[in-house]
């Protein structure tokens, strides 16, 4: 009887290599990679030949050339500065508007989200109307609207609207009083810093005590005392650290004080109002995700509604809220690129100008995308670390 050919199930050793699944996997990946490289290479070759056909060179050397164009606002800049510095001005402007936008949108969004669930019919309907109107209109239109139809409709500098506390509103900007440091400032600073460091430590200590002993810890009193008391002490010891600098009318605009340009104000308001509507929905969903029993139990324990929200509902909803909140923050930072429509010199706007002056499309796009990616990665890294901490607390 001749030996049976290898029909019967044999070990993987018997399988020919072209039928081996592991070989397939490696091959498939190699081929895929090659295909991607080939496409990339094709595109690269095209760019090279097209650039050469137009007599254009590549490289980032042009960044050292003199920019020559003006930029409306931002850190100290002169037309004689190099391109890379001009770009940096744009990056700082983007970070500035995104940072304040995130802070304000979080505050407004949280309040709106809570208001949406308020037992007050008028308040909840108002919040609902705000959310539904804002979320369904493109941000670009809202920004342009805020800038041209609201901010620039304010009266001229000489007829500024004056709000209490020396705040002047005009179509040249918003002038606010500024705290200018005095000579005593550096002596005062250590006191303030000590207060800032001590306050959370005290808070944590008092809270732990409250948990251990059951007696009210009065953390707020202790922490607040440190936060305000130490700087006050510093004031007494070192002398007045600040002078209030009031804006005054100069030749064409206010001088002194803190002046926010109309462009910055419009973009900040636009981004805040838009993102807050989305954050409100995130907060609402987060609160609703907390089981109704939690609220009932809190009420049964005698918490009043404010306490229920602050001590029972919000801490639990935070872990639901954080991940979508992160993506809203990232959206805000990315959306700040629309600032160009309201004349605010953010990084995209400056990059466009650089492109106009130099014609370096590939390099400029590389710079812009790289910057946004870096900012996105950094933001999500920081926030995800925070998210991990919040999640660890959860049981």
């Amino acid at each position: 009887m001749p030996p049976e050919p290898s029909r019967s199930p044999a070990g993987p050793a018997r399988v020919a290599w072209w039928r081996n699944e592991r070989v397939h996997r490696v091959l498939a990946q190699v081929v895929f990679l090659l295909a991607v490289i080939a496409v990339a290479g094709l595109l690269y070759a095209n760019v090279r030949s097209q650039l050469r056909a137009r007599g254009l060179t590549t490289g980032y050397g042009f960044l050292y050339g003199q920019a020559g164009f003006p930029i409306g606002e931002g850190i100290e800049y002169h037309e004689g500065d190099p391109y890379w510095y001009a770009f940096l001005v744009g990056v700082v402007n983007t970070i500035r508007v995104s940072f304040f936008g995130i802070v304000l949108a979080t505050i407004l969004g949280t309040f709106t989200g809570i208001a949406r669930l308020s037992s007050n019919w008028l308040l909840s309907k108002l919040a609902g109307a705000y959310i539904e109107i804002i979320r369904n209109i493109p941000l670009l239109i809202q920004l342009v609207f805020w800038y041209f139809a609201v901010i620039l409709q304010l009266p001229g500098v000489k007829e500024s609207v004056v709000l209490p506390g020396s705040i002047f509103l005009s179509n040249r900007g918003t002038a606010l009083p500024l705290l200018a440091p005095t000579a005593a400032f550096s002596a005062w600073l250590p006191f303030a810093a000590a207060g800032l460091v001590l306050a959370p430590l005290l808070w944590r200590w008092r809270m732990r005590r409250q948990e251990l002993t059951g007696r009210p810890g009065r953390g707020l009193v202790w922490a607040g005392g440190a936060l305000l008391g130490l700087p006050a002490l510093g004031w007494l010891v070192a002398g007045q650290p600040f002078l209030v600098e009031l804006p005054e009318m100069g030749g064409f605009n206010y001088e002194g004080g803190l002046i926010l340009t109309p462009e910055f104000t419009a973009v900040l308001i636009g981004l805040t109002v838009y993102t807050a509507a989305f954050i409100a929905e995130v907060v609402r969903a987060g609160i609703q995700a907390v089981h109704v029993g939690q609220k009932e139990a809190a009420r049964a324990l005698g918490f009043h509604p404010g306490q229920t929200l602050r001590l029972v509902i919000l801490p639990q909803s935070v872990r639901v809220i954080i991940p979508p909140l992160i993506s809203q923050y990232l959206n805000l930072a990315k959306n700040s690129s629309l600032a160009v429509a309201a004349g605010f010199p953010d990084l995209f706007s400056v990059a466009q100008t650089i492109f106009n002056q130099t014609g370096r499309s590939v390099e400029v796009i590389g710079l812009v995308m790289g910057s946004y990616l870096a900012m996105s990665l950094f933001t999500s890294l920081v926030l995800n670390l925070y998210n991990r901490r919040v999640r660890l607390v959860e049981r």
Binding site: A28, N136, V144, M369
Partner: protein, 374 residues
């Protein structure tokens, strides 16, 4: 024992029912609710009357620009702020809707719209639903593109270059093309990101995260200034098509994440069962996993479509004449100068009506599909 006297049926106290009861419960339940209510009422009382005066009572409702100019002069003569001039909307309505699409060919847009309405109506009736209708929807999409584009030298459907597509028509076309065409790419990317092959997974992830990490405007900017360099010499791809490509590449990354969400929601048991039935990888995906996953992600995809619909307004920045850009260009017409607020309100209203009704519809769909109810 005294005879049972039917007890008087006591109504709840007057303060608990009816309008008064409602007011007490919903507006004045606690001291701070009273405060909030009063504050809001005061706010509304200060904001609404001047707005209503400008928008409605002092406004000029006409279809030409002369009455507006007269109203403005009259208002200036007595030193008050003139009301809105709504004439800019009807006078330029055609421009808003179809933009620079040739006047004699506008019926083609009407025909395309009629087709969509017809299919929509059929879909609304349960008994028409079926494979044929799905096929009709799928086919209607290229059919509409062909209808609007036409052919070189054709007498019935003369060529209308994409450069002439503008206004609300362009806004819709961009959004629809982007979402439909990004679908296959998005699904592939989602599968790629969940692939067991590390290289495929890595590259898919890099693509998705890169696109999601940068603003749409930079991708559009790239399509407008760098895309021509990527093409072999002499190949001309026009601006509208380039914007479409940019939107597709952008939308695919977000779609991939939505689809991935759907894929992750499929329990492992489904894979195991498919394996047990002897289905290969491809069949498992195609017959078991994807149909379930895609059904689960319909609501987020509708949401993404709404976002995309709004995002198309960015093409104005790269010089395409969508609804928003048409609005801007009307403002440079000498007759309609200075009517920014009116034009922006109208454009915003159009966007709002469409996105709001789509999101309402998607919420209804969500409820009917029972997605999100566990």
């Amino acid at each position: 024992m005294p005879p049972a006297v039917p007890a008087e049926i006591l109504l709840p106290p007057r303060t608990q029912i009816g309008p008064i009861g409602w007011l007490r419960a919903n507006l004045f339940s606690t001291w701070y609710n009273v405060l909030i209510t009063l504050l809001i009422l005061w706010l509304l009382a200060t904001v609404i009357p001047p707005m209503a005066r400008w928008m409605i009572f002092d406004a000029t409702w006409a279809t030409t620009h002369e009455p507006c100019a007269r109203a403005r002069e009259a208002a200036q003569a007595i030193g008050v702020r003139p009301g809105a001039c709504w004439a800019v909307i009807p006078a330029n309505f055609r421009l808003f809707m179809v933009g620079t699409y040739p006047v004699g060919q506008a019926h083609r847009i009407g025909a395309a719209l009629a087709l969509v309405v017809l299919l929509g109506t059929l879909t609304a009736f349960r008994r028409f639903r079926g494979r044929a209708l799905v096929a009709a929807w799928v086919l209607s999409f290229p059919a509409i593109l062909v209808l609007l584009h036409g052919f070189q030298g054709s007498a019935i459907l003369p060529l209308v270059e994409t450069t002439k597509w503008s206004g609300l028509t362009l806004t819709f076309l961009l959004a629809i093309v982007a979402i439909v065409a990004s679908f296959p790419l998005g699904v592939l990317l989602a599968l790629g990101r969940r692939s067991s092959l590390p290289v495929v997974r890595l590259l898919s992830t890099v693509y998705i995260e890169t696109v999601r990490g940068v603003p749409l405007i930079t991708i559009l900017f790239m399509s407008s200034v760098m895309f021509p360099l990527l093409m072999p010499g002499g190949l001309r791809v026009d601006k509208v098509v380039r914007a479409m490509l940019a939107l597709i590449l952008f939308s695919a990354a977000y779609l991939a994440e939505n689809v991935r969400g759907g894929l992750q929601a499929i329990p492992q048991g489904q894979y195991d069962a498919a394996r047990a039935l002897g289905l290969g990888n491809a069949l498992t995906m195609g017959l078991i996993i994807l149909p379930q996953a895609l059904r689960a992600v319909i609501p987020p995809i509708v949401g993404q479509f709404i976002g995309l619909f709004k995002d198309t307004s960015l093409v104005a920045v790269i010089g395409l004449l969508d609804l928003f850009a048409i609005g801007q260009s009307i403002l440079s017409n000498p007759n309609w100068l200075g009517l920014r607020t009116e034009v922006y309100i109208f454009v915003a209203l159009v966007y709002w009506v469409f996105s709001y009704s789509m999101s309402m519809a998607s919420r209804r769909l969500e409820r009917r599909l029972g997605v999100g109810v566990r």
